[in-house]
């Protein structure tokens, strides 16, 4: 295998797959990437067996072939190189020479046939998505997804595609059992004719993170599709596949409280609430960040105390006409929700001091978050 490629082109490709490459050293070859030189360019492929990514990059290939190389070392080398063309030559023993101007690197490669193959996929049945919107849905729900939770399924993001008449709704749900976020949006175009009416899939957090990264790059319309145990995501020549997580997602609809009359909701300025929470949380107890929150007609009062440091309190103006209610929250949980909301205002609604709190943005009806209180 022999090819010439622009340093920036190869670096872009390597940056995209860094997140996919396995960090833990379970199988040495998984810390490598696969380079496939074809007549029309070079494919950069990475997988951790759960997620796979493939992208085709412009290159002048003089001899086709393939090799796997350490993703990290290759990336570190490319980062240090100056702009311009570089030449990659792979010897029979998989040693690879990188020639860039006067710099030369020889790095050890592993045979490409040892690299796990990406799952084969069909091109049919993909639903087009508006790029900005989809990335936004991920951003608004991913924060609530569990992190190494013992309840395995909570470490995934629920994706549902529902086709009703000519509309297709895309909905994402994340929860770690203490908080939950739901965001939905109409997908611009109707899906292919024979698409099933509802698709439900749970994707690993890592796959959602990678999609979000790819969506942040500007051009190209993304497409998404699901097979029995696989999610397929395409965007401008890039392919991302992810195994779906197996298991039953908790019945999240049951725990989202129903909207109440406006008077029973607390409406408050989002930025003010965020600032006050940050300040008061400084003196909350470590770890739980517990802050006592009092809803009273016309105002919200935040209070925290820490036996070792002292206490803090702040009052905010709010629109509320219900009964006075004293509850407590992990300030972190509230701040996470407020951080992904876009509007100026935020509404909070809860039945009793220990019942779930529904948080909404009056300006974006497609988003809802539920946060469970703490006893303070």
């Amino acid at each position: 295998m022999k090819l010439r490629i622009e340093r920036d082109e190869l670096l872009t490709g390597l940056q995209r797959v860094q997140g996919v490459v396995e960090k833990r050293n379970t199988m040495p070859i998984l810390s490598n990437i696969l380079l496939e030189a074809r007549s029309d360019g070079v494919n950069i492929i990475a997988t951790d067996l759960e997620i796979g990514m493939r992208g085709l990059y412009k290159a002048a290939v003089t001899q086709t072939g393939s090799v796997t190389l350490s993703a990290r070392k290759l990336y570190e080398i490319l980062k240090e190189l100056r702009e311009g063309e570089i030449e990659l030559t792979v010897a029979d023993n998989n040693w690879t020479t990188i020639q860039a101007g006067k710099s030369q690197f020889k790095i050890v490669g592993l045979p490409s046939q040892d690299y796990p193959a990406l799952p084969s996929i069909e091109r049919e049945g993909l639903t087009p998505l508006t790029g900005v919107g989809f990335g936004d849905l991920i951003r608004k729900t991913l924060f609530a997804v569990g992190d190494n939770d013992a309840r395995y399924i909570l470490n995934g993001l629920l994706v549902t595609l529902t086709a009703i008449e000519k509309k297709t709704m895309l909905r994402l749900v994340g929860t770690d059992g203490h908080r939950l976020a739901v965001a939905e949006q109409e997908v611009t175009e109707a899906s292919a004719k024979d698409a099933p009416r509802e698709i439900k899939a749970i994707i690993p957090k890592k796959a959602a993170l990678e999609m979000r990264r790819l969506l942040e790059e500007e051009d190209g319309e993304p497409l998404i599709g699901f097979s029995k145990n696989l999610m397929i995501f395409r965007k401008s020549g890039l392919l991302l596949t992810s195994r779906l997580m197996e298991g039953t997602y908790p019945n999240y609809q049951q725990v989202v409280p129903k909207d109440k009359e406006v008077e029973k909701r607390v409406t408050v300025d989002r930025a003010e609430l965020e600032g006050a929470l940050r300040r008061v949380a400084v003196l909350s107890r470590d770890k739980t960040h517990a802050v006592r929150v009092t809803f009273a007609p016309g105002r919200i009062t935040l209070f925290s105390s820490n036996p070792d440091f002292g206490e803090a309190t702040e009052e905010l103006q709010a629109r509320y006409e219900g009964q006075t209610l004293v509850t407590g929250f992990n300030a972190r949980y509230l701040l996470d929700v407020l951080a992904v909301m876009d509007g100026d205002g935020v509404t909070l609604q809860m039945e009793a001091p220990l019942s779930p709190c529904l948080i909404r943005d009056p300006e974006s009806p497609g988003f809802a978050s539920v946060v469970m209180p703490v006893k303070v």
Binding site: N148, D149, A150, T175, G177, H178, R179, L180, P250, N251, V255, R285, K287, T288, A290, P307, D308, G328, N330, L354, S355, P356, V370, M372, P373, V374, K375, V376
Partner: protein, 383 residues
């Protein structure tokens, strides 16, 4: 009456565990009650005042207690009951005082400095608190009021049981002087013996010039602080409760055992009590420690973190059981097993287990009211 510069209240429940047993079963009233575990291995945890007259004291082997007092009525410890009574006492103290510092389940300090306009007579305030605690719990306590924590504590200790003492400002040194040095916090039995050899027996002796050189050699620069304390000069503030750090339970068996099932049942029993206490306090534990002591008195422990803080025993049991099984050496004999839960944090409610949470809360209410024996979680048969 002149305003006190500081007014500190100290109260200590008289023989709390033993009295609690009588509160729970009034038929025990007037009997020689002691709380503890049965012989041959058992230890007395607390003795009622009548039993104390026979020489029965806490930490005494139960077998010895029965020899001293053959009519002794032994009652097993009932932690949920003590916790319940403690919570009721707290409600009383919270009603009276802004700042209360509970130093154990049955004694507290409170700052009454700002209450002097409301209660100009400290003796009346003290009696009102004592009465309110008795009314709420059926427990009698000894209460003392002074300008500092040390004097209040020493005064309460020498007015037990059911006492009330007020040490007026300016009389602290005179009150402390005739008390034995051992009464002063920080002076343990070893130091007291040491001082006794020097001829120092009363608190007043600590401030006498003739002992000064000897004391200086023993305490160095710390002597001035000790002497200030001996005169009743003590500005230690009342610090409202610190977070409970951990909660634990252990027991010594009557006979050493190598029966894993039995060890598991014992630890499981501790867990349901401890988890109930956590829920009652709105807390959850991030870490647990299993402890074993074998027949040779060798102690082994195993500590693990839960993936998230928990307070519902069925969710905690699997990991605790695994730790216990990992710790037990087959055919090794054990004399003691213990479980403690730590890293206690306020519990976050669960989204998907709201029905379970409600059901468990209902059970907890029943236990609070009628005791742990009337209701508990069912069990799923072992696989």
């Amino acid at each position: 009456m002149d305003r006190w510069p500081r007014q500190i209240v100290f109260a200590d429940v008289d023989a709390m565990y033993a009295t609690a047993a009588i509160v729970a079963s009034p038929t025990l009233a007037g009997k020689l009650v002691a709380v503890g575990t049965p012989p041959p291995r058992g230890i007395i945890t607390a003795a009622s005042y009548p039993a104390r007259r026979y020489g029965v004291t806490a930490a005494m082997p139960t077998a010895q207690a029965f020899r001293l007092c053959p009519d002794l009525v032994l009652v097993p410890p009932d932690r949920p009951l003590y916790q319940r009574l403690h919570n009721r006492m707290r409600e009383v103290t919270d009603r009276f005082f802004d700042a209360t510092e509970w130093t154990s389940i049955d004694e507290f300090y409170a700052d009454a400095t700002d209450l002097q306009s409301l209660h100009p007579d400290p003796a009346q305030l003290g009696q009102a608190v004592k009465d309110a605690i008795f009314e709420a719990t059926g427990l009698r306590c000894t209460l003392a009021i002074a300008t500092g924590k040390t004097v209040a504590k020493v005064a309460a200790d020498c007015h037990k049981p059911d006492g009330l003492a007020v040490i007026l400002p300016g009389t602290e040194a005179a009150f402390l002087a005739p008390q034995p040095v051992r009464a002063l916090p920080g002076i343990g039995p070893k130091t007291a013996t040491e001082l006794d050899l020097l001829g120092i027996r009363r608190i007043g002796d600590l401030s006498e010039a003739r002992f000064e050189p000897m004391l200086r050699r023993r305490w160095g620069t710390r002597l001035s602080a000790l002497q200030a304390l001996a005169c009743g000069l003590d500005s230690d503030p009342v610090v409202p409760d610190r977070d409970p750090k951990s909660s634990g339970h252990e027991t010594t068996f009557e006979r050493d055992t190598d029966d894993l099932r039995f060890l598991e049942r014992t630890v499981h029993g501790f867990l349901s009590e401890l988890a109930h206490e956590l829920r009652a306090q709105g807390l959850a534990a991030g870490t647990f420690t299993v402890k074993l002591k074998d027949a040779q008195f060798k102690v082994t422990t195993r500590q693990r973190h839960f993936h998230t803080p928990l307070n519902y025993d069925p969710s905690m049991w699997r990991e605790i059981r695994a730790a216990l099984r990992g710790l037990v050496i087959p055919r090794n004999l054990y004399r003691l097993v213990g479980l403690s839960l730590s890293e206690l944090v306020p519990a976050t409610e669960s989204l998907f287990e709201q029905r379970t949470t409600k059901a468990v809360a209902a059970m907890d209410t029943v236990i609070e009211k009628h005791g742990a024996r009337v209701m508990r979680l069912g069990e799923i048969p072992e696989e």
